[in-house]
């Protein structure tokens, strides 16, 4: 069923109000805003004629969507099989300990966001992590401690 309602935001003009586009619409919103806010769920609900409940049902099903503002720098630690076998969990632990947060959370100052990712597909170079857009391969506990040290002293990652 198509609705003729104009998109609630100009940056969603690529969509024509088809409820089947719910997931791509939410993906677009998240890529622009960094997260899916309550406000945008309300807007999308009215536009696509899908209840807010249903939108949350779909959005929480998929691990990609987040509902709080992410930290400034996003650290994604890969915990795929190859990374696990080569010590990815220990790398996650260093971040947990040093940043004092759990995966999925942001530091209170909003500077760092910690995420786990199922597999980045760079398994041959495990363990792997991504800081913002930069991939760090063959990571070790030591390399991470140095990296965090550099970040803290304000150098580029």
């Amino acid at each position: 069923m198509k609705t003729a309602v104009v998109p609630p935001r100009p940056d969603l003009s690529g969509f024509d109000g088809d409820p089947a586009d719910l997931i791509p619409v939410l993906q677009t919103i998240q890529s622009l805003d960094g997260f899916v806010s309550e406000e945008s769920v309300r807007l999308v609900s009215r536009w696509l004629k899908v209840s807010e409940n249903e939108i949350y049902g779909v959005a929480t099903f998929f691990s990609q969507f987040r509902f709080t503002k992410p930290g400034e720098h996003v650290i994604r630690v890969c915990l795929g099989t190859a990374c696990h076998v080569k010590g990815g969990e220990q790398i996650m632990d260093v971040f947990r300990r040093r940043l004092g947060i759990e995966p999925g959370d942001a530091t209170p100052d909003g500077k760092y966001q910690l995420e786990r990712v199922a597999c980045l597909g760079c398994c041959a170079l495990a363990p792997v992590l991504v800081v913002d857009a930069r991939v760090h391969s063959q990571a070790s506990v030591l390399k991470i401690q140095n990296l965090l040290g550099r970040q803290a002293s304000g150098e580029d990652s």
Binding site: Q64, G80, A118, G121, C123, A126, V128, V141
Partner: protein, 623 residues
């Protein structure tokens, strides 16, 4: 019918122009793996160095050629000479390489792997004679790492879109017959004969049919589909045209993981190039066949690799599977007949149509024809993407191609979270659908993770169950609750709190989950536990009876110890210890307070990488 003669002529000119360029050409492996290893920095260094020294050269970004452990790979092609490939190139090595070739006219010798094409130097080995590549057969991966994936001309020049031209001049039954006699089976894991699925779809009356390319490569530890999409997207898209023609579909979708941004970008570029030369859209090449392709990005749910869950997610709903039958081939997307084929299945089609069924079925075994790509990772020396004829033994894959292990072999894990850990006794059995299933594992999409003596089987099983437990969609109780209990029991065992009765409990629970789940996720989720119990029972007993982890992995069952005779007292471990558990004055052996030690591994690593003290800190089993 229109032909592709004109675009192909242009393409051949551009491709041979690249081969016979007056200026040198540099090829940089710039797939995700290459970029992770630093290809972007190397490319920047090359560009800067060329500019600074006033050298002229072209740079071509290619996909992944396979040996990821050699990344970043850079090839240089001097005028009239073949491409010569260099491994593990850093910005410094890239500059030295350029100076050698461009300034001094010499062949750079360090980091040299081999040449591609005809030998033009004498004495340089062939790239494809490298031990990792010599035993491989490149059918699906034939263009990966060779061509620029962003150029349709390169694909066309290497016989691209010839297969769809020939398919369109034949009847759909003829195309289906070719795929049938080639013996192609689904490469996504289950190995269902491709033609049979197609025929069901074609024979179902409908006003419209759909084709979906399943690029939701969710198995952790597998990246074959990513590499193919990044390195040769047109091969997969041409495969979609062929499948679409055979089943009579008018619309195609590529359902691709959002974690693969480069693959998505390559697909977008390729699709718009297809439109330009008229192999996508209305009445393709003047025939009656109209077909369009859209990209759908997944949103991170492993269960969406399952056909009905994938369909639900394309329709904008929660990705939860439904009962089958009806199978998607008769009732799928929007209730219409739908075929879902894996990336590699589709990527095999152009080669089959171009070279014939007989050519394809020369590879493989009686029941499993053709080649299969695998991602060979874990504790093996040479990691990367490989393609071998089906029926190749695990020993050939792990030892001849992978170069073996540093430590002792323990197991190889195939099939991701749906597969299992196979022990040494399976090393000489040929890898095909039937053999792996008989052993209690599955072929899966092609992840092969090699485990050595330092890997704990209980920890590995726990890892996979944690994964499936988190990814279970929650629809079937045995899967939702059962996997959670499996994790709980494994957790207990790994903490040294297990009982012998836990082993029976694991087995009972596993069988209940397998029998009581709707979709493949639940039906196969217990495989890692079942194979572990079957082939590595002694390791369970060590954890339960002796309360020790033989691989020294399970955190509750290991201790850290400083070997006084080795410790030089350099204090580096004191500096990295987050809890102050290590103390001691400089130049004297340090002390480790086990009460304070949280087993974070920092001291172990800093000590191991230190040339002077070496391995003064050890992790031992025993609480």
């Amino acid at each position: 019918m229109k032909t592709l003669d004109a675009p192909r002529r242009r393409a051949l000119k551009s491709w041979s122009g690249l081969q016979n360029r007056e200026d040198p050409v540099l090829y940089v492996g710039a797939a995700s793996c290459g970029l992770a290893a630093g290809a972007a920095e190397v490319t920047r260094a090359i560009e800067e160095h060329l500019a600074a020294r006033g050298f002229r050269a072209d740079i071509v970004r290619v996909g992944c050629i396979g040996p990821c452990y050699l990344e970043p790979l850079v090839d240089i092609q001097m005028p009239g000479k073949p491409r010569v490939s260099y491994s593990n190139v850093t910005p410094e090595i890239a500059c030295a390489l350029l100076d050698a070739f461009l300034e001094r006219g010499e062949v750079f010798r360090r980091h040299l792997v081999g040449h591609l094409g005809e030998d033009g130097y004498g004495g340089i080995p062939r790239f494809f004679d490298h031990p990792m590549l010599a035993r491989q057969a490149r059918v699906v991966l034939r263009n990966c790492g060779i061509i620029d994936p962003a150029s349709i001309d390169h694909y066309l020049a290497r016989d691209g879109y010839e297969a769809i031209e020939s398919a369109l001049s034949r009847s759909w039954t003829d195309v289906l017959e070719t795929v049938k006699s080639a013996g192609l089976r689904g490469r996504g894991g289950a190995g269902f004969p491709t033609w049979r699925k197609w025929l069901t779809c074609r024979e179902t009356e409908s006003d419209c049919r759909y084709l979906i390319c399943n690029a939701d490569e969710g198995d952790p530890g597998a990246f074959m589909n990513r590499s193919l999409l990044e390195g040769d997207p047109h091969a997969v898209l041409e495969g979609m045209l062929i499948a679409g023609y055979a089943i009579g579909a008018s619309h195609g979708y590529v359902y691709v993981r959002a974690e693969y941004p480069l693959a998505v970008q390559r697909l977008r570029t390729a699709i718009s190039q297809m439109r330009e030369i008229g192999v996508l859209g209305e009445r393709i090449l003047g025939s009656d066949f109209s077909f369009d392709i859209r990209i759908k990005e997944g949103a991170g749910a492993f269960v969406c690799g399952e056909e009905t869950a994938l369909i639900a997610s394309i329709e904008g709903r929660r990705g939860m599977p439904r009962t089958r039958p009806p199978f998607p081939a008769s009732e799928g997307l929007w209730g219409r007949p739908t075929i879902i084929n894996n990336v590699e299945t589709l990527g095999s089609l152009p080669s089959i149509l171009r070279n014939g069924a007989e050519w394809f079925s020369q590879y493989g075994t009686e029941t499993s024809k053709g080649t299969k790509t695998f991602s060979l990772v874990g504790k093996v020396r040479r990691t990367g993407l490989i393609e071998v004829p089906l029926g190749t033994t695990l020993r050939t894959v792990i030892y001849d191609i992978g170069g073996g292990l540093v430590k002792d072999f323990k197991a190889v894990q195939s099939g991701g979270p749906s597969g299992g850990c196979l022990s040494e006794e399976f090393l000489d059995s040929p890898v095909d659908y039937e053999n792996l299933a008989a052993a209690g594992s599955i072929m899966g999409s092609g992840g092969l993770i090699v485990l050595d003596a330092n890997t704990c089987i209980i920890d590995t099983a726990k890892y996979f169950l944690n994964f499936t437990q988190a990814e279970s969609c929650g629809k079937c109780v045995p899967c939702r609750v059962g996997t959670r209990h499996l994790v709980g029991i494994l957790e207990r065992i790994s903490q040294g709190k297990g009982q012998l009765s836990d082993l029976d409990r694991l087995e009972q629970l596993a069988k209940a989950i397998k029998g009581g789940s709707l979709c493949g996720l639940g039906q196969t989720a217990p495989n890692p536990v079942l194979t572990a119990l079957k082939y590595f029972r002694s390791e369970f007993l060590a954890h339960i009876v002796d309360r020790r982890c033989p691989a020294a992995v399970c955190r509750d069952l290991v201790v850290y110890r400083i070997r006084k005779e080795k410790c030089t007292g350099c204090q580096r471990c004191v500096q990295v210890c987050p809890t102050g558990a290590i103390t001691g004055p400089r130049s004297e052996p340090h002390n480790l307070d086990l009460e304070k030690c949280i087993k974070c591994r920092s001291c172990y690593e800093i000590c191991r990488f230190d040339a002077i003290a070496g391995d003064a800190i050890v992790i031992e089993s025993g609480a």
